[in-house]
């Protein structure tokens, strides 16, 4: 079997993404499901910037995803009914929090890093859960809707038109993913790979490893908070579950399932996971067991992920 060149994959993926709303119904899906794949795919790809390309395991990315969601929801509800402003505030909230927490944890490694990210993730969960008067507590931020996009010459109705919203999400996704791709190709991105492959050697070469890991963490959280804002807009709602630790676990499994060492892998993992979850939860009450079993099976039988398997087959 000959290896398919990377460029062909990229073109194929963009074609699929651009046409998705038009064939989603034909294969039993719906446009909102397509938007969901994009949003969670972006989140998983953001996590993979840190996990797959810097070699640092964060199990707490839901915190920044959720901060993005809350930032967007509360801005639109309390400050001004503007979708772009909501996204801006949400992303700023997530990124700022990541800067502070990243500074506390950039020195830690391995299991310890993972544990501390899990634990810190819970801080924001409890704030959202407890601070009833502002965040709505367990019920979440309700009573607001995503606003139409005013471009000056025209208004795009994001609320009533599912397809318009999908393409709005795709637009944000494309910007984020292109930025991510450029970053990974830059000298900075190459340095991150060097740290992943051999941290000690990187250190001997004079690379300030802690600073790079901090920056990689912040960049990764910046992207995941974009996904978070889009998630809130998608649901017209957000609640503390968006920032709880099980959400973080979902991002990690998506990245692993698709393939951590590939750029597009996490998107494919997210697509598989979202479709599966949608199917299982509409067919059985015991969906948690199925998802749990899915985690176990992925770890035991697909540790390299879908793209990792394909790639290995291509080599041999």
């Amino acid at each position: 079997m000959k290896r398919v060149p990377a460029a062909a994959w990229t073109v194929l993926i963009w074609i699929v993404l651009l046409t998705m709303p038009y064939w989603m119904n034909a294969v039993g899906g719906y446009t909102e499901l397509a938007s969901r794949v994009l949003v969670l795919g972006l989140a998983a790809m953001s996590l993979n910037f840190l996990l797959g390309f810097t070699g640092v395991l964060s199990f707490g990315h839901a915190a920044y995803f959720g901060l993005g969601a809350y930032g967007a929801a509360m801005t639109i509800k309390y400050i001004a009914p503007s979708t772009p402003l909501g996204i801006l505030v949400g992303v700023a909230a997530g990124t700022l929090a990541a800067m502070v927490i990243g500074a506390l944890i950039a020195r830690l490694r391995g299991v310890y890093f993972a544990m501390v990210t899990i634990a810190f993730g819970q801080v924001f969960y409890f704030i959202a859960f407890r601070w009833n008067s502002v965040t709505g507590g367990d019920d979440g931020v309700t009573g607001w809707k995503r606003q139409a996009l005013d471009l000056g010459f025209t208004r795009i109705d994001l609320l009533g038109n599912d397809k318009a919203f999908y393409y709005f999400v795709l637009f944000c996704f494309a910007i984020a993913v292109t930025l991510m791709w450029l970053l990974l190709r830059s000298p900075f991105g190459r340095t991150l790979l060097a740290i992943r492959e051999n941290e000690r050697r990187a250190r001997f070469l004079g690379i300030p490893v802690e600073q790079h890991i901090w920056l990689s963490f912040v960049i990764s959280c910046f992207f995941v908070s974009i996904a978070g804002t889009l998630y809130a807009l998608l649901n017209n709602f957000t609640d503390p579950r968006a920032l709880r630790w099980d959400q973080s676990g979902t991002f990690v499994i998506m990245a692993v399932l698709g393939g951590m060492r590939s750029f597009w892998g996490p998107l494919i993992g997210a697509a598989i996971f979202v479709v599966l979850q949608d199917y299982v939860s509409s067919h059985t009450e015991n969906w948690m067991s199925f998802i749990g079993l899915f985690f176990v099976l992925v770890v035991l039988f697909f540790p390299r992920g879908v793209l990792g398997m394909l790639r290995r087959k291509g080599v041999t």
Partner: protein, 289 residues
């Protein structure tokens, strides 16, 4: 006010004892096998439900005696069949595996025993307050603290005075050498896992008597246990114990002055510890990496 404060400090101590029992089990497994056991909360809940089911037949004391061992037995099977497959691999995989197990546990418990909270009966001789002035000092609460303390002392005796404990400590320091010296490392890890799960099961039975019983009982205790390990210092069991008690008391005191921050305070403490002493209060130098 003093009474309220005392009440909450004592309450915090009890909660801290739960955290410590759970965190010690997590720590044992983490130190020897490098596995963060997300399913620990599930085991805790399982222990509580087993005791709940047994109590009508063997009484409270019988349940308390049998359930933790039964839980540990389930733990041994899970370790043999699943957990051991991820030893030596990236910690990512053990996290995901036990994460999936935690999901399955919660769902299965709910399917068997229902989602509603059920009361867990404790013997009447333990349920009455010891004095009217200190109404919160029921026999059960004192008993819980006493038993938790006894079990912790027992654990440290096992680790420091027995051959098994010596091997566990040696394995924590250098597993390869221990293996070369002829110790069956696979068996050592299994037994060590069983001990950790025993502590979870015991904490579950005790917690059920105080908090009531629902499938999510373990989930609410697992995060503070992680924090206890981080605050106490990775790799140090005395540190884990100290961390657990410290967090319990701190959240107890916070309840008096600033109730809505009861959960958040432990994360603030974690942030402070990481800022000042990244390896934790009693953590050894070099284990951070």
């Amino acid at each position: 006010m003093t009474q309220l404060l005392l009440f909450n400090v004592f309450n915090g101590l009890i909660v801290g004892a739960f955290y410590a029992l759970m965190a010690l089990g997590l720590s044992l497994i983490l130190n020897l096998s490098g596995v963060i056991n997300f399913a620990h909360g599930g085991f805790l809940a399982l222990g509580a439900y087993i005791a709940y089911t047994l109590t009508p037949y063997v009484g409270f004391w019988g349940g308390l005696a049998i359930a933790p061992f039964a839980t540990a037995a389930v733990g041994l099977v899970v370790e043999r069949v699943l957990i051991r497959r991820v030893y030596g691999r990236d910690p990512l995989y053990s996290l995901l595996l036990t994460f999936g197990l935690a999901y399955i546990f919660e769902d299965v418990l709910r399917a068997i025993w229902g989602a509603q909270s059920v009361p867990y009966p404790i013997p009447p001789e333990l349920a009455t307050p010891l004095s009217s002035e200190f109404f919160f000092l029921t026999g059960y609460r004192l008993f819980m603290v006493g038993l938790a303390a006894a079990v912790v002392v027992g654990l440290f005796l096992i680790l420091n005075r027995t051959r098994l404990g010596m091997r566990i400590r040696a394995g924590t320091a250098d597993l390869e050498t221990v293996s070369v010296l002829g110790v069956n490392v696979g068996m050592l890890r299994t037994l060590n896992f069983g001990m950790g799960i025993y502590l979870a099961g015991l904490a579950g039975v005790l917690a059920a008597g105080m908090l009531g019983l629902q499938p999510t009982i373990g989930t609410s205790l697992i995060m503070p246990s992680f924090v206890a390990i981080i605050v106490g210092g990775l790799g140090s069991l005395p540190g884990t114990l100290l961390g657990g008690l410290l967090l319990g008391v701190a959240s107890g005191i916070t309840t008096v002055y600033f109730p809505s921050a009861t959960e958040a305070v432990i994360y603030v403490m974690m942030g402070l510890v990481l800022l000042v002493r990244p390896r934790g209060l009693l953590g050894e130098e070099g284990r951070v990496q």
